[in-house]
C-alpha cells in the first residue's frame, strides 16, 4: 500500500491469480480487435483520403458473406470469453467444505467482524494465510459492499439477509478493504484493513484478544435467554422441530417443497417463522423480528449450526 505509480493491484489470493489470467485474456482479445479497427481506419483514412491517387476499382459488392463472417467470428470469440469468466465465477461461489466462517455486520459507517471463537474487531479483519475463509455478511441498515481488491473479490451486503463470500489468502500482509456500494455521507471512510497472518501468528493474535466465549457458547446462552430452548430444547413440551443435525440438510416444507437449512434459512425461521414452515409441524412459533439484533442472530445461527455438525465444536475455531 505504498505510494507511487501503480499499474496493477497486489495479488494476494488464489482467486486473484486466476482472475489476472482472465484479465490478460480479455486484454489480448480486445487489443487485437482495437488494433484491427484502429489499424483499418488509419490505413483507409490515409490511403483513401480525397486527394490520393489510390486505386478504387472493384469495390466490395455483395456484403452478405462479409457480414455473416465477422458476425460469427465475433460471436465465437465472445462465447469463449463468456465461458472462461462464468467458470471462474462459479468457483467463486462454491466454497470448500472446510472454511472458517467469520461473521460481518455492516452499518453506516463501519464493518463489525466476529470470529467464531468470539473475538470481535471493527474495520479490521485478521485471517490466517492459506486457509479458506468464508464471510457471512449482513447489514444493519442500507446496502453496503465488502470489497478487497487484492483478493479480487467483492459482494453486496444487504439488510435483512445473509450474503456469503469465500477466499483463500495466499500472501501474508495488509490489504485494503472498501465499501463499494454508496451508503451515505461517510461512504468513502467505510474502509478497513485485512491482515493476512501466518498460522502461528494468527493463533497468537486470537489468544491475545482474550479467551472470550465462542460464538457457539454465546449462542447457547441466548438460546435459553430468548426462550428457544423451551420448545426446541430436550425438555421441550411443544411439538417443535429438533435442531440437532439440522444444518446443511434438506428440510421438507409444509407446502411440499424442499429447502436446504443454511444460515439464511435459520435466520428466516427466527425472524419470519411463518414464511417457510417445516412439514409436519404446526405454525405456532412467534416471530422474533425486531427483538434480536444482527449480532445476536449470528450467535444463535452459530449455535444451531454447531448442533448440526457431526463433530461438535468444529465450527468454533479453525483447525491448526
Amino acid at each position: 500500500m505504498n505510494q507511487g505509480i501503480h499499474f496493477l493491484p497486489e495479488t494476494a489470493s488464489a482467486h486473484a491469480g486466476e482472475m489476472d489470467w482472465l484479465f490478460a485474456g480479455l486484454m489480448i482479445t480486445s487489443a487485437m480487435i482495437l488494433a484491427l479497427v484502429f489499424g483499418l481506419m488509419l490505413v483507409f483514412c490515409v490511403r483513401y483520403r480525397r486527394n490520393s491517387g489510390a486505386e478504387r476499382g472493384n469495390r466490395l459488392g455483395k456484403t452478405w458473406r462479409v457480414e455473416v463472417g465477422w458476425t460469427v467470428a465475433t460471436f465465437v470469440l465472445f462465447l469463449g470469453l463468456y465461458f472462461w469468466g462464468a467458470n471462474l465465477y462459479l468457483k467463486l461461489h462454491r466454497p470448500p467444505d472446510d472454511t472458517t466462517d467469520i461473521f460481518v455486520v455492516a452499518k453506516q459507517w463501519m464493518w463489525k467482524v466476529e470470529h467464531p471463537s468470539g473475538q470481535r474487531e471493527i474495520n479490521e479483519l485478521h485471517v490466517p494465510v492459506d486457509r479458506p475463509i468464508r464471510l457471512v455478511m449482513t447489514s444493519q441498515d442500507v446496502i453496503h459492499d465488502f470489497a478487497v481488491p487484492a483478493f479480487r473479490i467483492r459482494r453486496d451486503v444487504l439488510p435483512g439477509r445473509y450474503e456469503s463470500m469465500w477466499f483463500r489468502p495466499t500472501k501474508v500482509g495488509q490489504y485494503r478493504l472498501f465499501c463499494a456500494e454508496f451508503c451515505g455521507t461517510e461512504h468513502a471512510h467505510m474502509t478497513g484493513i485485512v491482515t493476512v497472518m501466518e498460522q502461528g501468528d494468527y493463533q497468537r493474535w486470537l489468544d491475545a484478544q482474550g479467551p472470550g466465549e465462542t460464538l457457539v457458547a454465546q449462542g447457547a446462552a441466548l438460546f435459553r435467554q430468548y426462550g428457544c430452548s423451551g420448545c426446541h430444547g430436550p425438555a421441550g413440551t411443544v411439538h417443535a422441530p429438533p435442531l440437532e443435525g439440522l444444518f446443511g440438510r434438506p428440510v421438507p416444507l409444509a407446502d411440499g417443497s424442499m429447502v436446504t437449512a443454511d444460515e439464511g434459512y435459520i435466520r428466516d425461521s427466527i425472524l419470519l417463522p411463518k414464511s417457510r414452515i417445516a412439514a409436519g409441524y404446526p405454525a405456532i412459533m412467534p416471530s422474533y423480528d425486531g427483538q434480536i439484533g444482527e449480532e445476536d442472530l449470528f450467535k444463535l445461527v452459530s449455535y444451531v449450526k454447531s448442533l448440526g455438525n457431526a463433530s461438535p465444536g468444529a465450527g468454533e475455531r479453525p483447525a491448526p
Binding site: M1, G4, H6, L8, P9, L22, F23, L26, S30, I33, V37, F38, L40, M41, F44, C45, Y48, R49, R50, R56, R59, T63, V66, W70, T71, T74, F75, F78, L79, L81, Y82, W84, G85, A86, L88, Y89, L92, H93, Q108, V142, I143, A147, P149, A150, R154, R155, D156, L158, P159, R161, E163, R176, C179, A180, E181, F182, G184, T185, H187, A188
Partner: protein
C-alpha cells in the same frame, strides 16, 4: 439563436434570404414559446439541453477538482450531492434528450419528406414538460441537493437519506412523460408521414435509429415512472416495498430500476449511431456499407436491450444462475455493436475521404465507442466484473460509451447539420481544433480511470487512499483539456450565427432529403412534398458541390 438576424450579418453574398422557419411566423418570444414547428421546438430543446450540459459539466469539473488530492477539498456531503446531481442532470436532462429531441426533432420529418411531426402540439407539450422537470431538478439543487447518486438505490434513498430525494425523483418522473410523448410522436411520424416512395429500406439510418430509440422510450420509461412512484410511496408513507425493515425487498428496486436504465443506455447511444451513419458515408463519398445490416442492428438493440438489465447486479445478491444467463445475453448484445463498428470502418474502404469537423468528430466517436464497447466485454464477464464493478473501471467504461461516444456523436451531428439548421457556416479550423482537443482531453481524463478501477479505487469516494493519487491527477488534468474543448464550440458556433458565411442548400453535397430544401428550411420544410425514387446514400465519388462556399 433567436438573435439570428439576417440583416446584420456580413455575408459574401448579400442576396436576400428566402423566408425560412426562423423568419416566418415572427421572431417574438411569444411566437417561439407557442410554436408548433418541429424545427423551432428542436431549437428550444437545443438551448435548454446546452444549459443543462454546462450545469452538469460544472458539477463534473468540481468532482475532478476535489479528486486532485486524496483527502478531497469538499465536505463529504457536498461531494455526494455533486456527483448525484452530475449524474441526474447528465442522464435525464442531457444524454437522453440530446440527439432525439434536438437533431431528431429537427431532421426526422425532413428526412422522410414530411411537413412536421405527427403531433406538433404534443411535441411542444413535451418541451414544456421537460422544462418543468428541469426547473424541479434545479429547485432540488437549490434546496440543498440530493445525495443518493443517480441510481437512487433503496433502502438508502427511501429511509436513510436526509436530502431532497422526493424533489429529485419528481423531476425525473416528469421528464419521463416528455420522453414518452416524444417517442410516441416519432413512432407515429415514421409510420404515417413518409413521403411517397420513401419505403422502409429507403430511410436514412438516422431515421431507423431514432425510430428504434422511440420504441425503447415508450416501452421502458413507464417502468421507471412506476419504480420512482413506488420509491416515493415508501419514503413518504413508510409502506414496505424495498426496505427489508418494513418487509420489502432491496433487490426489487434494482431489478426495476435497471429494467429501465439499461435500455436507457441504448436510448442514449442509438441516435448517436444514426448520426455517425450519416456523417461517415457523406465524407467518404460512399454508400454506407451493409445498409440493411446496420438498419436491423439498430432494431435488434431495442429487443436485446430489454434482456440484459441484471448485468448491473452480478455482485448484488442475485442467484448464480441468473448471473450466468444475464452475462451470456450481454455478450450477445455486443455482436450488433461490433457489426456497426465494422460497417462504419468498411464504409471508409475505397472512399474519397475528407476530414471536415463532422468527420473528425465521427472518427473520434468510432474510436471512443469501440474502446468503451470493448471494456464492456470486461464488465459483462462474470468473474472480472466481480473485481471491477462499482470501481472507476465502470466509471471509465460508461463514460467512454456515453460521453466519448454519445457526446462526440452529438457534436458530429451538430456540426454536420449546423449549416442546415442556421443557414450559416462555422469556422472550420476552430471546429477541427475543438474536435481534436475533445478527443485528446477525453482519453486523458478517462483512460487513467480504467487503471484506477483495476487497482481498486471505488466509485463515489470523496477521499481515497494516497496510492491512487497519480492517476487521479492525470485524469483531472485531462478534464481541464476536455472542458476547454467543450467550451470552444460555444464560441465559434455563436460567432457563426453573426459572422458565418451563408450556407447553400447542400454545403456537403450530401444525399438526404433534408439537403434538397433551402438552408435554413422554410416553415413547412418543402415547397411541395418530394417523391423518393432512390435508396439513400447514393454518393458519387467526386462531388460537384452545389455550393462550395466556405467548404474548401
Amino acid at each position: 439563436m433567436t438573435a439570428t438576424s439576417p440583416d446584420r450579418a456580413v455575408t459574401a453574398r448579400p442576396a436576400a434570404q428566402p423566408p425560412n422557419y426562423l423568419t416566418e411566423g415572427g421572431s417574438t418570444l411569444r411566437s417561439w414559446l407557442l410554436t408548433h414547428d418541429h424545427k423551432r421546438i428542436a431549437i428550444l430543446y437545443a438551448l435548454t439541453i446546452t444549459v443543462f450540459f454546462f450545469f452538469g459539466g460544472a458539477a463534473a469539473a468540481m468532482i475532478r477538482l476535489n479528486l486532485v488530492t486524496p483527502p478531497g477539498i469538499f465536505a463529504a456531503d457536498t461531494y455526494n450531492r455533486l456527483f448525484s446531481i452530475h449524474g441526474i442532470v447528465m442522464v435525464w436532462f442531457f444524454l437522453i434528450p440530446s440527439i432525439p429531441n434536438t437533431l431528431g426533432n429537427f431532421l426526422l420529418p425532413m428526412m422522410i419528406g414530411a411537413k412536421d411531426l405527427a403531433f406538433p402540439r404534443i411535441n411542444l407539450l413535451s418541451w414544456y414538460l421537460f422544462v418543468v422537470a428541469g426547473v424541479v431538478a434545479l429547485v432540488a439543487v437549490i434546496a440543498g441537493g440530493v445525495d443518493t447518486g443517480w441510481t437512487f438505490y433503496t433502502p438508502f434513498s427511501t429511509m436513510y437519506s436526509n436530502s431532497y430525494v422526493i424533489l429529485a425523483i419528481s423531476a425525473v418522473f416528469i421528464s419521463g412523460f416528455s420522453s414518452i410523448l416524444t417517442g410516441l410522436n416519432f413512432i407515429v411520424t415514421v409510420h404515417r408521414l413518409r413521403a411517397p416512395g420513401m419505403t422502409w429500406y429507403r430511410l436514412p439510418i438516422f431515421v431507423w435509429s431514432n425510430y428504434s430509440t422511440a420504441i425503447i422510450l415508450v416501452l421502458a420509461t413507464p417502468v421507471l415512472a412506476i419504480t420512482l412512484a413506488l420509491l416515493a410511496v415508501e419514503r413518504l408513507l413508510q409502506v414496505g416495498i424495498f426496505d427489508p425493515a418494513l418487509g420489502g425487498d432491496p433487490l426489487l428496486f434494482q431489478h426495476l430500476f435497471w429494467f429501465y436504465s439499461h435500455p436507457a443506455v441504448y436510448i442514449m447511444i442509438l441516435p448517436g449511431f444514426g448520426v455517425i451513419s450519416e456523417v461517415v458515408p457523406c465524407f467518404s463519398r460512399k454508400p454506407i456499407f451493409g445498409y440493411k445490416f446496420v438498419a436491423w442492428a439498430s432494431v435488434s438493440f431495442t429487443a436485446v436491450s430489454f434482456l440484459v438489465w441484471a448485468h448491473h447486479m452480478f455482485v448484488a445478491g442475485m442467484s448464480v444462475y441468473a448471473a450466468l444467463v444475464f452475462s451470456l445475453l450481454s455478450y450477445i448484445i455486443a455482436v450488433p455493436s461490433a457489426i456497426k463498428v465494422f460497417n462504419w470502418t468498411a464504409t471508409l474502404h475505397k472512399g474519397w475521404i475528407s476530414f471536415d469537423a463532422p468527420m473528425l468528430y465521427a472518427l473520434g466517436f468510432i474510436g471512443l465507442f469501440t474502446t468503451g464497447g470493448l471494456s464492456g466485454l470486461f464488465t459483462a464477464n462474470l468473474a472480472f466484473d466481480v473485481h471491477v464493478t462499482d470501481t472507476y473501471f465502470v466509471v471509465a467504461h460508461f463514460h467512454y460509451i456515453m460521453v466519448g461516444g454519445m457526446v462526440s456523436a452529438y457534436f458530429a451531428g451538430l456540426h454536420f447539420w449546423w449549416p442546415k439548421i442556421t443557414g450559416r457556416i462555422y469556422h472550420e479550423w476552430w471546429a477541427r481544433i475543438a474536435a481534436l482537443l475533445i478527443f485528446v482531453g477525453f482519453n486523458l481524463t478517462f483512460f487513467p480511470q480504467f487503471i484506477l478501477g483495476y487497482l481498486g479505487m471505488e466509485r463515489r469516494y470523496h477521499s481515497y487512499p494516497p496510492e491512487f493519487q497519480f492517476w487521479n491527477i492525470l485524469s483531472s488534468a485531462g478534464a481541464s483539456i476536455l472542458a476547454l474543448g467543450y467550451v470552444m464550440p460555444l464560441f465559434y458556433l455563436t460567432w457563426s450565427l453573426y459572422r458565418g458565411q451563408r450556407a447553400g442548400a447542400n454545403p456537403w453535397a450530401a444525399t438526404g432529403l433534408e439537403w434538397t430544401t433551402p438552408s435554413p428550411p422554410p416553415k413547412h420544410n418543402f415547397d411541395k412534398t418530394p417523391t423518393v425514387t432512390r435508396p439513400p446514400y447514393q454518393y458519387r465519388p467526386e462531388p460537384e458541390p452545389q455550393d462550395a462556399q466556405g467548404h474548401a
